[in-house]
Every structure is written in structure tokens, then in C-alpha cells.
Amino acid sequence: MTEANKAIEVRGLHKHYGANEVLKGIDFHVDVGQVVCVIGPSGSGKSTLLRCVNRLEEPTSGTILVEGIDICDPETDLDAVRTRIGMVFQQFNLFPHLSVLQNLTLAQRRALKRSKSEAVEVARANLEKVGLADREDAYPAHLSGGQQQRVAIARALSMNPDMMLFDEPTSALDPELVGDVLAVMKQLASDGMTMMVVTHEMGFAREVGDKLVFMDDGVIVESGDPREMLTNPQHARTRGFLSKVL
């Protein structure tokens, strides 16, 4: 596997909050077109790892390469790199003062300097993709959680990113709304999108994932083929965790 095929590469990543060491040396990569799911108990550092990839969290030490670009290099145009990394949050984080369409066009206009008509065109295409073409004038407060999360996915897609990061995208949803969001994510995966997904949805990991990573206490305990790992975990900690969630 050559460098060029790696969408995300993390080497020797450490992250401290004061004396508390959250990531204790992570080596990890996501290949182009791969869907990598990260699982683990809460406090294992999986969300911190994801948030380091677009530097919402500042790594304490280590290297993070996105498409070969060192994002911790002070010379790197971080905003430009971020436009290529879509991110979806557990709490959706839609802009409540803007309509659905404006949520999707804002960053296209401000960061990519697209014209208004182009931004609207892209936004509508992506709303279509997540099945919410008829809600472009609605405000986030008037949408269900599942609809909000699908708008958030469409907002990230509107930047035409090369890869998508998902931070527990279905954890804040009512159970009956999880399916719609997962369906959109499956569609994305089958379209060939590079995805890194922190999740508790083992079914999704098994069905869609190309690689499964199990984290515990700031380290990657085990990673490999999802079907293999879920049926036959190698490490005791993995087994312990899976026996609680499956």
C-alpha cells in the first residue's frame, strides 16, 4: 500500500488533558475508499482520536497526515484541509438561526467562495440525496433528530469532501430514527466515500465496515476485519466489551 492510497494516517499520537492521558500512542490509518469503524467503551479516547483528525482537538504529540498533508504543520492551511474532511457530530450542531438551505450554503459561500446559485444547486442535490428535498425552508428546531442529522450529513457533503468523519452519529437519536441515518451512511459507503465512524452500531460495522478498530483506555487494542473480529475477537478486553454490547 503506497502513501497515496492513505486518506488518513496517524502515527504515535498522544493527547493529554493536564495529567490525564487520553490517547497513549495511536498508530492508525484509513485507506482511500475504506469505511473504518471505531468502537470502544466511553472514555476510551475514540472520539478524541476522531476529533484530532481535523484538529478540533490539538494533539499533544505525534503526526497526523490527511491525504499526505501534515495537519499539525504551522504552514498547513488548516481551513483548506478541513473543507476536504466532512464531519458529523453526535449533537448534529446545525445552525439554529439559519434555514436548512442556508445551513448547507453558508460554508460553501464563506470557505469555498462559491457563487450563491452554485451553492444552492449543490445544496439541493445533497438534500435530495438524504431524502429531505422538501424541507429546505424549514428551521432545524422544526425537524426531528433523524432529519437534523441527515441535514448535517448533507451540509458536510455540500463541501464535496474527500472523506467523512462521524462522531457517534446515531447516539443522540430516538431508536426509531436511527435507521434513516444509517441508511444514508450506507448509501454513502456504497458510493465509495472514505469514512471514519465512531459508533456503537455493531450491525453497521459488520455490514458496511471494511475495518474495525477496538479502542480501550487510550490505545488500539485490536483491529481487523469487522466480521472476523465481531465473531472471533482475539483479545480478552475486546471479548469483554463485545459481550456487553452484543
Binding site: 478540533l56 484541509v81 478541513r82 464563506r110 448535517a152
Partner: protein, 261 residues
């Protein structure tokens, strides 16, 4: 004694105290003198319409100018206070603590009289201009703290979402954080506006031209001209006509925000 009986007796006693206080006041007052001094229709007629076209008008104009200026300065101070650059934070904190710790009256005196002497420069609008400049400085300190609280009340996920989309820091502040912060601070800002309305009455200390008098100065002059306090009654009514709708508006906005949450 039954609990309900005791409650009824307590309530009767409270009403009794209130009633006797009112009666005592009614007997103590010299109603003829009160009427002559506070409700003289002749004086009211003399005051009209200048009380409106000069007094009330200037209250509104002065408040608006000082508030608008204060808001702009306050926004700069609030952003400085939240800046990652420490000296900016120190400067903003020093400014805010300084002007919140002084009586507005003192600032008006100092700015109104000292600036023309110290800098050989009179602010536009003369003495009133200097007074308004002072009010702007003071109101900015209070509004800045309100804005800072509003900005910090916007969930961190909002700026994270904007930054993760590749928007720059300034754009994130301008199009994501500030619009939401302003929505949050509309009720406290309206309160600041009401406070400022009343603070314009302090401008009397620097002495202003006839047509620049705000309501309190206007009525003070009228009271001494006619040797009668009716103008104060009129001024009180006029102030309440301006402030009460605003305070009611705040109460309504706060109820509505409470429901939205």
C-alpha cells in the same frame, strides 16, 4: 386552631396593616397642597408641548446615540475579552472594571469638563456631545459584559461545526456565533437601554443649551420657573410611558425564550 383558620387570620392581618398605612397616609397629607404643587393644570398647559418636543425627544435621541455607540464599543471589548491574546483580555477587563466601578455622574463630569481642557478639543455637539461620549463609555462597559456572556452561551459545538466545514475564525464568529449571541442577549440589552434612558438625566450636571435639555433638566428648569413641582409629575409619567413598554417587552421576550428552550 385549624391550619386553614390560621392562614385566613394571617392574611386578614396583612390586609389590615396595608389598609391602616393607606389611611394614615391619607390623613397625614395636606391634599390641597399636594394638588396645588403636583397637579397644577395651568402649569401642565405651560409645559405642553415642549416637554414632548424638547424633553422626551432629547431623552430618546441621547439614549439612542449613547446606546448605539456603546454597542459598537462593547462588541470590540467583548471580543477582546475573549481573545486568545492575553494583553487584549487585560485591556478589556481593565476598561470594564474601571467604568463599572465609577459613578456615571463622575465620568460625565470628568469627560465633559476635562476633555476640552486637556485636549483643546470639543467633541461634536459641544457639552452635550462630551456628555454623550461619557455615557457611551460607561454603557459600553456594561453592554460588553452582557455580550461576552451571550457569546459564551452559544454552544461550543456551533463554532466546532463551522470550523470543521473549513470556515475561518472571523467568519465563524460573524456568521455563526454573533447572530446567536445577539438573540440570547436581546432581553438584557433592552434592560441596559432602560438604564441608559434614566442615566441621560445625569447630563444636567454639565449644563446644556435650551434646546438640548432632556426631560429631567427640562422639568427642573420648569419647576424653578413656576415655583411648582407639577413638572416632576409630568416627567415621571413621561419616563414611565417610555420605560414601561420596554420592561414589559423584556418580560415577554424572556417568557418566550424560556418556552423555546
Amino acid at each position: 386552631m385549624k391550619r386553614s383558620t390560621r392562614r385566613r387570620l394571617t392574611q386578614a392581618a396583612l390586609y389590615g396593616i396595608l389598609l391602616s398605612a393607606i389611611v394614615a397616609l391619607a390623613f397625614a397629607a395636606d391634599w390641597a397642597a399636594v394638588k396645588e404643587n403636583y397637579f397644577d393644570v395651568e402649569v401642565l398647559r405651560e409645559l405642553w408641548p415642549e416637554i414632548l418636543t424638547v424633553g422626551v425627544r432629547n431623552v430618546i435621541v441621547f439614549t439612542t446615540i449613547a446606546f448605539a455607540g456603546g454597542l459598537v464599543l462593547a462588541l470590540v471589548l467583548a471580543l477582546m475579552k475573549l481573545s486568545p491574546v492575553a494583553p487584549y483580555r487585560w485591556m478589556a477587563t481593565a476598561y470594564i472594571e474601571f467604568f463599572r466601578g465609577l459613578p456615571a455622574l463622575l465620568v460625565i463630569l470628568a469627560v465633559g469638563f476635562t476633555i476640552p481642557i486637556a485636549f483643546h478639543w470639543t467633541p461634536p455637539g459641544g457639552t452635550v456631545g462630551a456628555g454623550l461620549f461619557a455615557l457611551t463609555l460607561v454603557s459600553a462597559a456594561y453592554i460588553a459584559e452582557t455580550l461576552r456572556a451571550g457569546i459564551q452561551a452559544v454552544p461550543k459545538g456551533q463554532s466546532e461545526a463551522a470550523r470543521s466545514l473549513g470556515m475561518s475564525g472571523p467568519w465563524t464568529t460573524a456568521s455563526v456565533v454573533l447572530p446567536q449571541a445577539f438573540r440570547i442577549v436581546i432581553p438584557p440589552l433592552t434592560n441596559e437601554f432602560v438604564l441608559l434612558i434614566k442615566d441621560t438625566s445625569l447630563l444636567f450636571v454639565i449644563g446644556v443649551a435650551m434646546n438640548q435639555r432632556e426631560l429631567t433638566t427640562f422639568t427642573r428648569d420648569a419647576a424653578s420657573t413656576y415655583g411648582n413641582s407639577t413638572s416632576y409629575t409630568a416627567a415621571a409619567v413621561a419616563y414611565l410611558v417610555i420605560t414601561l413598554p420596554l420592561t414589559r417587552l423584556v418580560a415577554w421576550l424572556e417568557r418566550r425564550q424560556g418556552r423555546a428552550r
